[in-house]
Symmetry: C2
Subunit: 341 residues, 2 copies
Amino acid sequence: MAKIDDVARLAGVSKGTVSNVFSQKRATSPKVTERVLRVSRELNYVPNHTARSLVTKKTMAIGLTIPHGNFFFSAFHNQFINGVILEASTYGYRVLLDMIAVEEVKTPSLASYPIDGAIVLGPTKEDRRIQLLHQNQIPFVTVGKIMNQGIEDVSTVNNNNDKIIRDICNYLISKGHRNIMFLNAGQQMTVSIVRTEAFIHALEAHQIELQPHMIHYKPLIYSEEYMRYGYDETYNTLANLEEKVTAIISDDDRTAFSAMNALKDLGYSVPEDISLFVICGDLSMMHQVTPSLTGMDLQPSELGVQSVKLLMHKLSVLEGEFTNHWIVDSKIVERDSCSSV
Amino acid sequence: MAKIDDVARLAGVSKGTVSNVFSQKRATSPKVTERVLRVSRELNYVPNHTARSLVTKKTMAIGLTIPHGNFFFSAFHNQFINGVILEASTYGYRVLLDMIAVEEVKTPSLASYPIDGAIVLGPTKEDRRIQLLHQNQIPFVTVGKIMNQGIEDVSTVNNNNDKIIRDICNYLISKGHRNIMFLNAGQQMTVSIVRTEAFIHALEAHQIELQPHMIHYKPLIYSEEYMRYGYDETYNTLANLEEKVTAIISDDDRTAFSAMNALKDLGYSVPEDISLFVICGDLSMMHQVTPSLTGMDLQPSELGVQSVKLLMHKLSVLEGEFTNHWIVDSKIVERDSCSSV
DNA sequence: CTGAAAGCGCTTACAG
DNA sequence: CTGAAAGCGCTTACAG
């Protein structure tokens, strides 16, 4: 690989000048620019990214930290990541994918983390990733609320999960449902905690008392229960509960399908006997299946874009004012899986 | 951030020694090791990754290049990426996600690409990404066959797509199907080309002549047709074709759902009237829906693991012999969507 | 087992 | 607009 000295020598200029034609930080005369570029092309020269990083102290990469161990990509995450990559590339940033154990204390890494900033997906209570980032003074933004971290003023991009659950509950209650089962996300995620509170409040607002066994949490991904989540909860709850459940709120499409299977085995059909609402599902899945599934549009791609934007502000690559807490809109998309009782 | 000089001074040793206790490349006495480690902890010191990279000429990152523009993560890709990340972390490697335009000639990047090697997902004919990698002398392995690249001896990890299609066809033909429609992947992908050939051969082997309009290709992702792929092809073909289609092979679960919607609108049911086979779908989706979908297990996670292993061999981090072409097994998983005619 | 010194390939004040 | 020189924070022969 040709290096800057080779180009400088052959073009008859100094290294500094070669550097400038590539970085564009100082103007170079047209003649010199053209000559340097030509020589560079001949030698197949391209500035060494690492050497540049060492002096600029920028890696031009952001980390996307995905909770490892209790997580699996869903359509939501796919779209989110698409948004992140596309937006990051706008600023010349690349995306480093990283799974960090949320809880286990691993042996500290042997070297500093080669990123300028990070995006933390799906924070949990007392999330270790956040502690690590904070400790290493790496700017970051979380996608989702943080809790119990003892860190001030963390930048966050998020849906309004409180409002989402209230909207869903009001939607179902307005259709006459009063016995609503909630298949929530994993218990360790802060989003689940927010949702549960909102769920209880929404019911209370309509004088509905929360029945036991009406809120369930997604098991850890590698557990035996994981693959049966949705089915077991639905089957057991509907088979045993005194009061009849008439609506189910499901965290994602997979869980919804699983629940529908249980309903089928119990002899119920959707939406005639039971209404089904999916919070976070693949749009094309949701409308392709029968019945098509009513759900929320969370704008995952927009969440990705906004989290990159916020991070770029923190890294001062984006100028101007910004809010530390950005909310991405969401709205109900009605399809065929919810009906009135 | 503390640097190696600070630690060396405070611990009363040379920088070289500090370097050695962290890199473990040369032994250090217990006393010195302990002292250096203690000081490092006090100063919150961790070796600078970039500085190290500059001299070792290793970034300890591999790139995962995803075709941009005509691509969307599916469950297959999720599991694949999971395999890649997990296996890569075994060797201390991180994964840089990258979407490179497959065809457009973008302005050349302003700096070298900070990866030691790359994995190319879903190669197309005359794939630009492969040319770029080859040109920049970055070791890479493709997941999928390459065609028309003019490059010798490219390392490849792949399913045996020829065998997969033959197996599927034989499976369907053994159930009496002779009019089989094939909803293939995107036309530009090499996998589609291999599959189409195999499809034709499999039919020929049973003296079945390929009817027109029996092979379709997935449109580019941002096209208007994309969202209707599966539905339109199924509807139009079944409504207009003289001979009745009795089985459909679908590239993925999304397309299968789409096709099922068309079948419903046409008054056909699966598997009574039409059999449906999914090549590459989300296992949990496949068995959660009704009817559960018969399909192939492609072992995407294993594909990810093996492509990292092969790349590590090329980077000489893994010793010993290796084959340049690794095939990952696949097998039919029977569920409820295929029946005999 | 340890140290002193050169060097990895750039960028960046500084000077002109 | 350009150049000479120092320096980014490490690792690595070389020597002992």
